[in-house]
């Protein structure tokens, strides 16, 4: 190093340290003080972020509902990448949150790590399976029987694609339906298996296509996947792909075929194309978890499974399609729901159980 660069280096170090010092002092005096009177409830989304009109938004709605009813201080933070998960979850706990929600299966490891290091905070993970034998006592997994929602949606698709294809000019006679998957993870597979079984239960000859896009955040890929299946004759596209799936719905809308949304009522994305949505009551599950914690009945160290008997799985109203969907289909849907509730029909939770090699 020349003398000049050596000196520059030292100067840079000093300036950085000074900057640190200034901010350090300034910061500690002016740290945003948490509102002490209010309970803080925090939520960290996965990389899909808010605005996915799906499970991140659905979870956030539960937080907002709780805010309206209980007057909590609701805080949400979006994770930009997977390396943000632990800092975000830990950070919320360190900011004083009483309950911290991790939204999405991918945050599982991060949730456990944060919970282990912040034993005084309650943690809940949506779509995250918590191993009761290993998990700390302050973390709870909120799981859903997605296969039940998929099954009911499958009944709708199976009937409309062939038997009642004349109901709308968005439907054709090819007897093909398609699914656009995000990443191939258990909750997605449960939807897929349930949907397949639902379709086959009313329409055994139907061809059910699946494409795994490998991402929850790429609308272009979702669109591409949907268009490929539409070319093969698919007239109903069921999306199970978060933000990626919005592209699939838009593709179906533009190509003049129909779509089925996922997680929350997605008819707002394309009212003419979306027949219904296979929903899971994330919003309600979040709300109930917050309520339980405020009442002191939060139970960690295991999982809570929400299903059709808790009114947390099923399909959304037909909305714009209400006048198009024939009464027979609606009756079949009601029968499917009743059968699931009574246990007469058990929707398969995996491709293997469903006998689906798609």
């Amino acid at each position: 190093m020349s003398k000049m660069t050596k000196i520059t280096v030292i100067m840079l170090v000093i300036s950085m340290v000074f900057a640190g010092l200034i901010f350090a002092n300034g910061g500690s005096e002016t740290a945003p003080a948490a509102e002490k009177s209010k309970v803080i409830i925090g939520m960290a989304t996965d990389v899909g972020g808010l605005g996915d009109k799906s499970f991140n938004d659905g979870s956030y709605q539960g937080l907002l509902d709780a805010k309206a009813d209980f007057g909590i201080d609701a805080r949400v933070v979006e994770s930009k990448q997977q390396t943000d998960y632990v800092p975000n979850l830990s950070g919320l706990a360190e900011d004083g949150a009483q309950v911290v929600f991790a939204v999405g299966f991918l945050m599982g490891d991060a949730l456990i790590e944060a919970a282990e290091n912040h034993p005084d905070t309650s943690f809940a993970g949506i779509d995250i399976f918590v191993d009761p034998s290993k998990a700390p006592k302050n973390v709870e997994g909120l799981l859903f029987k997605e296969q039940e929602s998929g099954y009911v949606a499958g009944v709708v698709a199976g009937l409309l694609t062939k038997k009642y294809a004349s109901a709308s000019d968005r439907l054709n006679d090819d007897n093909v339906v398609g699914m656009v998957l995000g990443m191939d993870i258990p909750p997605v597979e449960r939807y897929q298996a349930g949907f397949y079984a639902g379709v086959k239960s009313v329409n055994p000859d139907c061809k059910v296509l699946s494409v795994v896009t490998g991402t929850f955040t790429d609308q272009a890929k979702g669109k591409e996947a949907a268009l490929a299946m539409i070319e093969q004759g698919a007239d109903i596209i069921f999306q199970i792909a978060g933000l990626t799936g919005l592209g699939a719905i838009n593709a179906a809308n533009e190509a003049g075929v129909a779509a089925i949304g996922v997680d929350v009522d997605q008819s707002g994305v394309a009212p003419d194309a979306v027949i219904t949505s296979a929903i899971k009551g994330i919003t309600r599950a979040v709300y109930l978890t917050i309520k339980a914690d405020l009442e002191g009945t939060f139970e960690g160290g295991g999982n809570k499974v929400f299903g059709i008997n808790e009114d947390t799985t099923g399909i959304s109203p037909f909305n714009k399609w209400d006048s198009i969907v024939p009464g027979d289909v609606k009756a079949a849907v009601q029968k499917a729901i009743d059968d699931l509730k009574s246990g007469k029909v058990v929707a398969p939770a995996s491709r293997k159980e469903a006998g689906y090699e798609g």
Partner: protein, 414 residues
């Protein structure tokens, strides 16, 4: 008295103070600053005594001048970001307080963790730039480093002092060899490294999935595909084991990164190889005229850039994650381009720009948690900083115009 006779003593004390100080500082013990300050003061005293008043004054001035552009860039970016926040209905003052409090104090550990891998990729890109090459595929070399580190970390059962350096070295060498084909194509056929290394980055990213599935883990676990955790003996030392108060996640990777930056600076400024690299980067034809083997230097520079970027992956696996996730979209390779450009490809500068980037990311998270500003604000600020600093020639141009005008005026008065 002959002050220069005391030089070794002064230097030892200064280096020691600075070393311990920064170690403490990076471990979130902010009083470490005092030691660094003491080192700085000592250096000033020594320097002032040895060269006299005039020279030290001139030095301080030239230093302030060199800081001008970065400071203007950051300040105006913050100003523009503040205006955007005010317009969109967020209070810029509270938001900025949260940004800097979060990034520099509360979540300083996260800033440090963010910065360490960026220093390696930033160095990789800066070094390639010095040779006139754009190693845009640092992301790919990152994956190679991470995969190799995971594999060795799983199987290499030896004392840490032996295994960790070997893992770094082997992973670095393999990451370097990943640039072999792009380097060969560049030298032999002139195929542009921007295209070749970028495509190789995609290949590495998606190939890593195969290796990850081959290294344990199951699809039933809490994460879709992830390798088994590496052996504990291969973990990098945690700062916590040196300072009990340090955050549990921070490891010594940042110190390795800084050491590497000093090493790269040394190579570039003090060795024949570094001189040749810079000569090739500035003017190939002139370098050739001087008898420098241009092709050979380009080849080695790209390989060394890969070596540096590979360290980034090793750092993350051995230091932080201790396993490798599929589809981990960290983007350190891409952000490395930003920090290298911001630092004008100066290896020492890369340390500071990486820290700045880390602070903005960690502070941005804190800001969005506490003030509920959207993430995009931080991205906007980062974008503006990058633009304003990289576009420094605008200032130089304006500065020259201003000077000329004044000159003309003065002459007119005469």
């Amino acid at each position: 008295m002959q002050i220069t006779k005391l030089k070794p003593l002064f230097y030892t004390v200064i280096v020691l103070l600075a070393l311990v100080g920064s170690l403490m500082y990076f471990a979130s013990i902010f009083s470490g600053i005092l030691l660094i300050l003491a080192a700085a003061v000592l250096y000033f005293v020594y320097y002032g005594l040895s060269v006299g008043k005039g020279a030290s004054k001139a030095l301080a001035l030239s230093f302030l001048k060199s800081l001008l552009i970065p400071v203007i860039g950051v300040a105006s970016a913050l100003l523009i970001g503040g205006i955007i926040m005010a317009v969109t209905g967020y209070d810029p003052v509270t938001a900025y307080k949260a940004l800097f409090y979060g990034g520099l104090v509360k979540n300083w550990s996260v800033s440090v963790l963010n910065a360490a891998p960026l220093i390696f990729t930033g160095l990789s890109i800066a070094f390639a730039f010095k040779a006139g090459l754009f190693n845009i595929g640092a992301e790919g070399q990152y994956y190679v480093g991470a995969v190799v580190a995971t594999f060795l970390g799983l199987h290499f059962n030896m004392p840490a002092l032996l295994s960790i350096p070997i893992i770094f070295l082997v992973a670095g060498l393999l990451a370097a060899s990943y640039n072999f084909i792009p380097a060969l194509l560049k030298v032999k056929t002139g195929a542009h490294e921007v295209i070749t290394t970028m495509m190789f980055a995609q290949i590495a990213r998606y190939l890593s999935s195969i290796f990850i599935r081959g290294m344990g883990g199951s699809s039933d676990g809490p994460h879709p595909y992830v390798t088994d955790p590496i052996l504990k003996s291969n973990w990098l030392l945690k700062m916590k084991s040196i300072f009990p108060h340090a955050n549990y996640r921070v490891h010594i990777g940042i110190l390795i990164a800084i050491g590497m930056a000093l090493f790269v600076q040394y190579i570039l400024t003090r060795t024949k190889f570094g001189f040749e690299i810079r000569a090739v980067g500035q003017n190939k034809d002139a370098a050739r005229g001087q008898g420098i083997k241009v092709g050979r230097n380009i080849f080695i520079a790209l390989l060394f850039a890969g070596f540096l970027a590979g360290f980034s992956g090793v750092n993350q696996v051995l230091g932080l994650d201790h396993k490798l996730y599929e589809n981990l979209n960290a983007g350190y390779g891409w952000d490395g381009i930003s920090v290298a450009l911001l630092a004008s490809n100066n290896p020492i500068g890369v340390i500071f720009t990486s820290l700045l980037w880390g602070v903005l990311a960690a502070g941005g998270q804190y800001m969005s948690r506490t003030v509920q500003t959207p993430n995009s604000i931080v991205e906007i600020i980062k974008g503006i900083i990058l633009f304003l600093i990289v576009a420094k020639y605008i200032y130089i141009h304006i500065g020259h115009k201003f000077k000329n005008k004044k000159k003309e005026e003065r002459e007119a008065v005469k």
